[in-house]
Amino acid sequence: MINLRDKGAEIWESQGRLGRIGIALSGVAIAAALPFMGGTILNTPIADYESVLVYPIAMYVLMAIGLNIVIGKSGLLDLGYVAFFAIGAYTMGLLGTKTDLNTWEILPIGIAMAMFSGIILGVPALKLRGDYLAIITLGFGEIVRIVALNLGALGRSEGIINIPTPPAIFGIEYRFDSHRIYYWTLLVLILFAIWMVRRLSVRRAGRAWESIRQDEDAAELLGVPTFKYKVWAFVLGASVGGAAGVFYASKTLFIAPDNFTLQISILILACVVFGGMGNIWGVILGAVILGYLPDRIRFLSDARLLVFGLVLVIMMNLRPDGLLPRKKREKAIVKKDAS
């Protein structure tokens, strides 16, 4: 099978500084032009194409990048990622309706709330390993949803309505039906998240995560403060989820516990694994496909989730490392030794 990932890396590495800037800019330009492609084959029947771009696609991409820090980079299985998304969204919902703060002022608060809950959950949970962590995070995701469902202050099953849209910034106005504007704003957030992850990956934190993922005991013995970096990965992942949540609430204007079920956690996990764990481009591709596919095949109406499940099974069996897997560094080393 052709290795798209290595092919892409080869092209990227063979370019000079100018060529790389060119590739990056054209990539951003293509992504930014997507809202204008509504008339083409990309169009989604039934659902509004531009709103599909915002949610699920762009929102999934953002969350998948956040979850990738936790699962792909440091190998911690988190099945309750939706909790941070919900915490961000409810922060926006509560502060947006009860106080005068606007979306841009709430965004850092929502991120801080998500990070704080990441610490609260992470410090006890990250002492456990592997599958126990999975069930604890899964339980946390359910607890957040159940609390939202049963606390009067959070609106119970009716949720929170009349959440304000973001106020105009740099002369750009946010109307609830101008999906393009939201899409471009999310694109900026996504680019910022990509930048953050890429910078961290090549620094001490990235190396620590990589070592934890490969062999936690060895990392600990070599002096990597594994617990500290695990909590960091968890909290950074949570911050991205929180940001997505704030923006989601501000876009849909209405949130309810039903929007934050375990299914979302699993879907985002599927995006990460399907696209290629640990490789940020693979994760983005996975999120785009899995966000887009259910709406593209909406003409199958009732059977669309069935087809979606089939696609997951078949794809995982054909490409267990995902569509664009992470660089096979070990393989490269073996090749060098042989020659």
Binding site: R129, L149, A303, L306, P320
Partner: protein, 316 residues
């Protein structure tokens, strides 16, 4: 509140026990597969769901019960219950083997880590849940009542209901049978060997694929029996019940120490009782929260569950 609780203590306990035994049987499905493959069998919850439908098919379509018909008695009742139990177990067991072949076998041979099989199992469980949802038109299905739910005895103030008694006794028999199978038979020995060390087991000439298939079959049989007991107790089912019970049973498996069969037993019992008591004191909506808080506390003090072996040791 406390006075009320004491008044109802025994009837709550009996309800909790029968729920606990349902959890035990589903938890066995998770824990057996985990013991052998070190993987969460995400599709087990849907195997349970299919088991509940198998029971309803037997009662409604084979024995032609309707909501209006008279409950059966005597030999006919035993025949109906036995047929439904065996049919559900077989359907779920065979389905569980198929799930292994579709979702796990290829990936297992490729040594692809833990996450890829997890996602493909999630895919399979979506396919199962969605197919049943489409077939049932997204509606819950009520089971016709084949058995009259009499009280057969009195214990302190609480009446002992016949369905709860049947559940507890037959689940105990099934559990004993499973323990005998794992501890006394040749295949059971092979399963234990693979769960201790797959590579050494292969070198000793054990057919790993066969052992894994057998494990999924046995786990599915137990889960299918749980589906029968669930319908017997609650008399309804829906395409989405697998999720909630699956999570609860998985929690039970973890509580007892996953990969450990006795652990699933005590974990299931503890969870069934805990949930019932917690719903009494705090209301049903908070029971999941209570369960998870208890789970976190237990894992924090005993990181391998109540009866678990040290995972790090068996992994190496």
């Amino acid at each position: 509140m406390i006075g009320n609780f004491l008044d109802q203590f025994w009837s709550l306990t009996f309800g909790g026990l029968s729920l606990g035994f349902i959890y035990i049987l589903i938890a066995l499905g998770y824990t057996m597969v985990y013991g052998v493959l070190r993987m969460i069998n995400f599709a087990n919850s849907e195997i349970f769901m299919v088991g509940t439908f198998a029971t309803i098919i037997v009662v409604r379509d084979v024995f032609k019960f309707t909501q209006a018909s008279e409950p059966a008695t005597g030999f006919r009742l035993v025949l109906i219950l036995a047929t439904a139990l065996i049919f559900s177990m077989l359907v779920s067991g065979v389905l569980s083997m198929l799930v292994e072949i579709v979702a796990y076998r290829r990936l297992r041979r490729m040594n692809s880590g833990v996450l890829a099989p997890l996602i493909s199992a999630i895919g399979v469980s979506m396919v199962l849940a969605e197919s049943v949802r489409i077939l049932t038109d997204s509606r819950p299905v009520a089971s016709p009542r084949a058995m009259e739910k009499k009280f057969i005895g009195q214990f302190f103030d609480a009446g002992i209901r016949i369905d709860n008694t049947i559940i507890v006794i037959s689940a105990l028999i099934l559990f004993a049978a499973l323990m005998t199978f794992v501890n006394r038979t040749r295949m059971g020995k092979a399963i234990r060997a693979v769960s201790m060390n797959p590579n050494a087991a292969r070198l000793m000439g054990i057919n790993i694929d066969g052992v894994v298939s057998a494990t999924f079959l046995v786990g599915g049989l137990m889960t299918g029996a749980a589906g029968f007991f669930y319908v017997l107790k609650y008399e309804n089912t829906a395409s989405n019940i697998g999720f909630e019970l699956g999570i609860a049973a998985f929690t039970a498996a973890i509580l007892g120490g996953i990969g450990n069969i006795k652990g699933a037993f005590y974990g299931g019992l503890a969870l069934g009782l805990l949930e019932t008591y917690a719903s009494f004191f705090l209301g049903t909506q908070w029971k999941a929260v209570t369960v998870f808080v208890v789970l976190v506390l237990i894992l924090y003090t005993r990181p391998n569950g109540l009866f678990g072996e040290a995972l790090t040791q068996t992994r190496a």
